[in-house]
């Protein structure tokens, strides 16, 4: 039980009002009374055409933003016809090899009216360039585009694995994007600094926030070193967190993250713009909490996790589908997932009150505890020379792995109960209908590429790629060069290959 004595002194200054420094209670003063969070379901599979159909279906169903999943070859900068792409084309997301695919992906979706989030990291600059050119072709200028690119390479080394280049050139690409977008795409979030995958890899809630904020500092420092001013790029930094099972801990986690970030930006970096101090974040419910056993139970897990995200003040939310421990979600499952957050928004009334848990003895005490533990981690990482150095030494990876292993052990000992898995099991479970990705996607994607290469202006492709190569050797911002190459239909793989040759490839520790 928690009492008034568990509250820290000077609670007022630790909390602030919603929409005011240090934003513990939320980044907007009216929170969801003004507008609900953005309901943004991550989707993408198979061909650009199939995903375009799913996008339009989701928009029709009342979804308010798009979130694009790319397949692994796309995420690692290989065209669909590369030998390494074998078996992976269109599997975990949509396959994009060139501007031609991107045009199909956003066909009949007006880019000035939707905001699009793209889960793309190592080749983020290339995919962003494709998005910009699709906009141009629709008659939508860059400054009207809104959305987010994930663009968070550090967590790829730590937890997610879709890296291409070593840290130094990767950080350069990221700061190039910051700089370019600050001037040309003022409504675009240039990075989504992600704890989500760190948590999925097995970290604790504290590690999730600590490693994410450590990575965020590394990006800020890189941008500052590149000569950018803090208030020029910081307002476009966004974050991405997990919503896991422990309900109150998750809510406290979001609140603590906001407070730490606000103080860090103000006190350490001297940011003046209020928007630079606000930690805005997307949330996805925890994929690794879903069970293959009794999959309908996952709907309940997702509901609780989504509720925690909402009570924690998220700006946008993806709710997972019940069947994701078995396969990609079916349309039915994806709809239930979206309905789950619509029910929370429209029926439960939790959105009617701004930060309804603010001031709770337990919530405030837990927020303080998490904050303290996160700050301890940040100090350790600082002493190691910052996030990049901690990653190069394998520190974050080891900490996460140890936590993951401990969780697995706890489940096997039944210290941690997973309903339907190590308790309350049933025999002879019925397998639900699952989505299957058509194996012909790979063949079709290869055919499209062959066709594209016969149609395009090879001379233009060669000259833009060679200009990009020269730029990579210099200190120029690479975005304009990538845009030129994309416009003449140089493929993702061709552009990434030029950069591979110039930058080298990351070798994991």
């Amino acid at each position: 039980m928690y009492h008034q004595s568990d509250l820290a002194d000077e609670l007022e200054s630790r909390l602030g009002e919603p929409g005011a420094y240090p934003f513990t209670r939320g980044v907007q003063s009216t929170m969801y009374r003004g507008r609900f969070w953005t309901m943004r379901q991550y989707a993408g599979f198979g061909s650009a055409k199939q995903t375009n159909e799913r996008f339009r279906y989701l928009l029709q169903q009342g979804q308010t933003g798009l979130s694009t999943a790319f397949d692994l070859p796309t995420q690692i900068g290989y065209d669909a016809d590369h030998p390494f792409a074998l078996g992976e084309v269109g599997k975990v997301g949509v396959s994009i090899s060139s501007l031609a695919d991107m045009e199909v992906l956003f066909d009949k979706i007006p880019l000035d009216q939707v905001s699009t989030s793209m889960t793309i990291n190592a080749p983020a600059a290339i995919l962003l360039a494709m998005y910009i050119v699709v906009g141009e072709k629709q008659g939508v200028s860059m400054d009207k585009l809104s959305g987010t690119i994930q663009n968070d390479i550090l967590k790829e080394y730590v937890a997610r694995g879709t890296y291409i280049f070593p840290p130094t050139p990767s950080m350069r690409l990221i700061t190039n994007i910051f700089e370019f977008c600050a001037k040309k795409l003022p409504k675009f979030n240039t990075i989504s600094i992600s704890g989500y995958h760190i948590r999925e890899a097995g970290s604790t809630a504290v590690q999730e926030v600590a490693f994410t904020l450590a990575n965020a500092r590394a990006y800020v420092n890189a941008a500052l070193s590149a000569g950018l001013h803090i208030d020029e790029f910081a307002p476009r930094l966004s974050f991405f967190f997990n919503a896991h099972n422990l309900f109150f801990e998750e809510i406290a986690k979001y609140r603590a993250a906001r407070r730490i970030w606000a103080r860090l930006m103000k006190e350490e970096y001297g940011a003046q713009n209020l928007k630079s101090l606000q930690l805005r974040f997307h949330t996805q419910t925890g994929g690794s909490t879903l069970t293959a056993q009794q999959p309908d139970n996952n709907i309940v897990r997702v509901t609780l996790q989504a509720l925690a995200a909402v009570l924690g003040g998220t700006q946008s939310l993806h709710t997972n589908s019940r069947d994701e421990a078995l396969a990609l979600p079916t349309e039915d499952s994806a709809r239930i997932a979206l309905r789950t957050q619509q029910i929370i928004a429209y029926e439960s009334g939790v959105a009617d009150t701004v930060d309804p848990l603010g001031g709770s003895y337990y919530m405030e005490s837990l927020t303080d505890t998490i904050e303290k533990q996160v700050l301890d981690y940040l100090r350790v990482i600082d002493e190691m020379g910052g996030a990049v150095s901690a990653i190069e030494q394998g520190y974050m990876q080891r900490e996460i792995h140890n936590a993951a292993y401990e969780t697995q052990r706890a489940i096997e000992r039944k210290d941690e109960i997973v309903v339907g898995v190590n308790a309350f099991t049933v025999e002879n479970e019925k397998v639900p209908e699952l989505l299957r990705v058509d194996e012909s996607i790979e063949r079709e994607a290869k055919e499209h590429l062959l066709h594209l290469k016969q149609q395009r202006d090879e001379h233009a492709v060669e000259s833009t790629l060679s200009a990009l190569r020269n730029a990579a050797k210099s200190d120029d911002n690479l975005m304009p060069y990538i845009l030129d190459a994309v416009r003449v239909y140089a493929t993702l793989g061709e552009i990434a290959n030029v950069l591979r040759e110039e930058f080298g490839e990351y070798q994991p520790v």
Binding site: F84, E88, L326, A327
Partner: protein, 275 residues
């Protein structure tokens, strides 16, 4: 085997999710196995080369990206092309049940999906690797000994098997601890065992109440029920009987759970001299 079992945990394809692979690798190490982890983004050729070079007994393939149907069998085939067919290949990841069946047809010994424990995996590897050399010492069951059929109305059932099909009744007895009356008919080399429950509480009574009359179990004739139960237990199958018990016609019998034998209640039975 005079060295620890050696396992290669491998991540084929482009998938970056290595939580499972890393946890399994460490877990198997803690179970006393020797484990090598390839790291991410391995081609099929790289995995095969590492497996051969490290002389592993088992390869554990992990993929959560949906590429398992392409990549897992490619490892099996690649090994076969090099004349290697005694390496135990297992898999894990987000893999739909129907794919699990297909992968087993294509040479994977087992597929562990979310919720599997490290203990299960370690047992499976140990038993299958250790039994590998001993397989030839096991004579497979010599024949189907009998098919057990649960009966609701014995007279009407006999009217079909005895009077219509013309099989003769060769033996009849009460088996009190099973609360059942058993009638054996000779059907060529094997027996049909008609099982009539003598109580609603008995296993046959419950079976008929929930599923109606019909095929109840298949019994295989073996030399040594105890040895077969042990072999099944070691292979990770779920047993109903931990040790042999007396059955009808003075045979020793033991059941394994239908969940382990793909939906068919399976009995081992051994003819004794007393018959």
């Amino acid at each position: 085997m005079n060295r620890p079992i050696r396992v290669l945990i491998a991540k084929p394809g482009l998938d970056g999710h290595d939580r499972g692979a890393l946890v399994v690798a460490q877990g198997l190490r803690d179970e006393g196995l020797e484990v090598i982890y390839t790291g991410l983004r391995q081609t099929v050729e790289q995995i095969i080369a590492t497996a051969i070079q490290e002389d592993v007994d088992c390869i554990g393939l992990s993929s959560l990206s949906g590429a398992h149907m392409t990549l897992f069998p490619a490892v099996v085939e690649g090994l076969q092309e090099r004349g290697i067919d005694d390496m135990l290949i297992i898999g894990g990841g987000v893999i739909p049940p129907e794919d699990v069946l297909e992968l087993k047809k294509r040479g994977l010994a087992e597929v562990f999906t979310p919720g599997s424990t490290i203990g299960e995996m370690a047992d499976f590897i140990r038993n299958n690797v250790l039994n590998k050399g001993e397989l030839s010492f096991f004579e497979p069951p010599s024949q189907v000994d009998h098919i057990g059929i649960a009966v609701a109305d014995l007279e009407q059932t006999l009217a079909f098997y005895r009077d219509h099909l013309g099989f003769s009744v060769v033996h009849e007895e009460d088996i009190p601890d099973q609360k059942v009356h058993a009638v054996f008919l000779q059907a060529g080399e094997l027996h049909i065992e008609l099982l009539l429950s003598t109580s609603d509480e008995g296993p046959i009574g419950k079976f008929v109440a929930s599923k109606g009359p019909g095929i109840h179990h298949i019994a295989y004739r073996v030399d040594d029920v105890a040895a077969w139960l042990e072999r099944s237990r070691l292979a990770g199958h779920r047993l109903i009987d931990e040790s042999p018990r007396p059955g009808g016609q003075n045979k020793w019998i033991g059941f394994i759970h239908p969940k382990s034998s793909h939906g068919v209640l399976t009995e081992y039975c051994q003819i004794t001299d007393k018959e």
